[in-house]
């Protein structure tokens, strides 16, 4: 539509005159640039879809409707609104599987994030505050952990202990914890030199009390930013392992498994792989966006940190 385009000169003039008189589209654009509306909307629908999957999904996620197999998404020729995103090669509804897959991802990633966060933050607090030997030991362990390729650790652990949803959570927690240690430690090193911490110490507060009451609140922003930036990476790692057959065991509809299922039908039933992969992409991008935005708002110093 030609009428909706905002000519450059007009747009620039509008900026000069202040936001109230700016054309509506420009105001919308500015609003979208200032607030992470789209990422939040995508993530909100992920959470709602995942939590309400049993209510929202029209079909059983693992039920193969053999008569309807290979139905394309509804906007394509031959698609029906009965299967909004089509069905896979054995007739399972992709939309329902996507919702249940969101449920699995949410469960796995949130548990892994919380456990990685708790362990990592605790170690970071200890390393930063106690210093000396404890610091040295913790940081060397982190260094060594960084120097081993994660995918290899994950694959060998899966072969030894078998793949399961629990295993997936453990693996992701193992991937998550290190980032907290390094950044929390760095933060604590500055915080512990501040006067209010010294005062707490001379007035006889115990180490645990100082760490929890006086230092922890100072690193909360850092933790929130890292967690948000990290979640996207965890979702990506989960999907990679599931794709490789070392993650969530089928027939559970993890997104990575769904992409892998469609590999052999790429030339004909391309949507089986494309749709779940695109969903992963959107979700990871939203988390990255939100993380960047939070970082700029809460803790711009972390900008040097690149995961």
């Amino acid at each position: 539509m030609a009428g909706t385009a905002v000519p450059q000169a007009q747009a620039e003039a509008a900026i000069g005159r202040g936001s109230l008189s700016a054309p509506i589209l420009l105001r919308v654009w500015r609003f979208l640039r200032q607030w992470p509306v789209l990422p939040v909307a995508i993530l909100a629908s992920l959470v709602i879809g995942g939590v309400l999957a049993p209510v929202l999904s029209p079909h059983e996620p693992t039920y193969p409707d053999l008569l309807a197999r290979g139905t394309p998404p509804m906007w394509m020729e031959g698609g029906t609104s009965d299967f909004p995103l089509g069905t896979d090669n054995i007739g399972r509804d992709i939309y329902s599987r996507l919702l249940y897959g969101a449920r699995i991802s949410l469960l796995v990633v949130s548990i892994a994030t919380v456990s990685g966060l708790v362990v990592g933050t605790t170690l970071g607090l200890l390393a930063g505050y106690m210093g000396r030997h404890i610091d040295e030991i913790i940081m060397r362990i982190v260094d060594i952990w960084y120097s081993v390729p994660f995918i290899m650790v994950a694959l060998i652990l899966v072969v030894v202990f078998g793949k399961s949803t629990t295993m997936m959570m453990v693996l992701l927690a193992l991937l998550a914890w290190t980032a907290y240690v390094r950044n929390v430690r760095a933060e604590v090193l500055t915080l512990k030199e501040l006067d209010y911490v010294s005062i707490a110490r001379v007035s006889g507060a115990s180490t645990a009390r100082i760490l929890i009451r006086h230092i922890l609140p100072g690193v909360v922003n850092t933790i929130i930013v890292i967690a948000t930036l990290r979640v996207g990476q965890l979702i990506l790692a989960e999907s990679v392992l599931s794709f490789l057959g070392a993650g969530i065991p089928p027939p559970q509809p993890a997104w990575g498994v769904m992409v892998s299922d469609g590999r052999n039908f790429l030339a004909t039933l391309w949507w089986i792989s494309f749709i779940p992969g695109f969903a992963i992409f959107l979700v990871v991008m939203s988390f990255n966006f939100l993380g960047d935005w939070l970082r700029d708002k809460l803790d711009p110093r972390l900008r040097q940190l690149d995961r």
Binding site: D143, V148, F150, V153, A246, I280
Partner: protein, 311 residues
């Protein structure tokens, strides 16, 4: 400088020993190694042959001794034989090392050649079309699952247009076979280099010495390439660890997607058939490769940036 190299060497060594301990512990946790050599349920195996096999595999010795015997074999290049087909794992890896290394190398070169200049461009021309293109590349490269990008690339360029072959490397070194897998594998590292170069460049262009150079009348190009660029290279160099990890994960995924006859695909196949000797061998080789390359980049980093030697 010397003490820095020695210290890095020590860390690398500790990590290497640590990973062999880890692999050995897991190989024992996985069950009695004899089970790999006999048929399901132990049919036709007498107590004598079972114990004979145990002696042959040194299982009658203490665990510590077993570790050192095993380590000695690994150092000599004996990684055991695969469960399926009884092929020496070392030979399997040797055959697949070149396809994996060459694909990873090409992808790495692509990432450096595209990521770093695009990062500079994006920083020096903020808000222009080039900047938006660069940032979109970074965004996509960071957020997209590599297997999905690979499948979409196959769908578009091989299936729809038929420009490049969809799959295997086949025999010999044909450049067209490398195009799709290498670009897909290089996307993540490209994004990493791009982001870091961009932010480093922005920081440096804002620094006092660049402002001074500008104030003294040095022309734009000289300031960017002579004063800023060299220092902006340091952060991308430091993430080589991250890039390497991305490349290793990526090669496992990309080789699976493109049916590439390399180590990554071999590992994934071994995971699905529970072929334990192959997996331990692959993990050891990948880890050693990773540690070695990390060590090299650490040294390179110290050569370029003298400040790092004293930390």
């Amino acid at each position: 400088m010397r003490s820095f190299v020695l210290r890095r060497l020590m860390y690398t060594f500790i990590a290497l020993i640590g990973s062999t301990l880890f692999v050995f512990a897991l190989s024992r946790a996985q069950g009695d190694p004899r089970n790999l050599f006999i048929s399901e349920g132990g049919y036709g195996v007498t107590k004598e042959t079972w114990e004979e096999l145990g002696r042959k595999l040194n299982l009658d010795k203490p665990l510590v001794a077993q570790y050192f015997i095993w380590l000695g074999q690994v150092v000599k290049g004996d990684l055991g034989v695969s469960v399926e087909g009884r092929v020496p794992v070392a030979r399997m890896i040797r055959e697949r090392l070149w396809p994996t290394a060459s694909l990873g190398g090409v992808a790495w070169i692509i990432a450096i050649v595209i990521g770093i200049p695009l990062g500079v461009l994006s920083a020096t021309r903020r808000g222009t079309l080039a900047d938006y293109v660069a940032r979109s590349v970074a965004l996509i490269g960071q957020a997209s699952p590599p297997f999905w990008i690979g499948l979409v690339a196959i769908l578009v360029f091989a299936v729809k247009f038929g420009w490049v072959p969809a799959g295997t490397r086949g025999d010999g070194f044909a450049i067209r076979n490398y195009v799709l897998p290498a670009v897909v594998l290089g996307l993540g590292p490209t994004a990493a280099y791009l982001r870091l170069t961009r932010s480093a460049m922005l920081n440096i262009l804002d620094s006092e010495y660049v402002k001074l150079a500008r104030a003294k009348g040095a022309n734009g190009r000289v300031v960017i390439w002579k004063h800023a660029f060299k220092n902006a290279l340091i952060p991308p160099l430091t993430v080589s660890t991250l890039v390497l990890a991305t490349l290793i994960t990526g090669s496992v995924v990309v080789e699976t997607v493109f049916s590439w006859p390399g180590m990554g695909r071999m590992t994934v196949q071994a995971v699905s058939t529970n072929d334990f000797p192959i997996i331990t061998g692959a993990v050891l080789v990948f880890t050693a490769l990773y540690l070695f390359l990390n060590f090299m980049t650490d040294i390179l980093y110290a050569v370029i940036d003298p400040r790092i030697r004293f930390t």
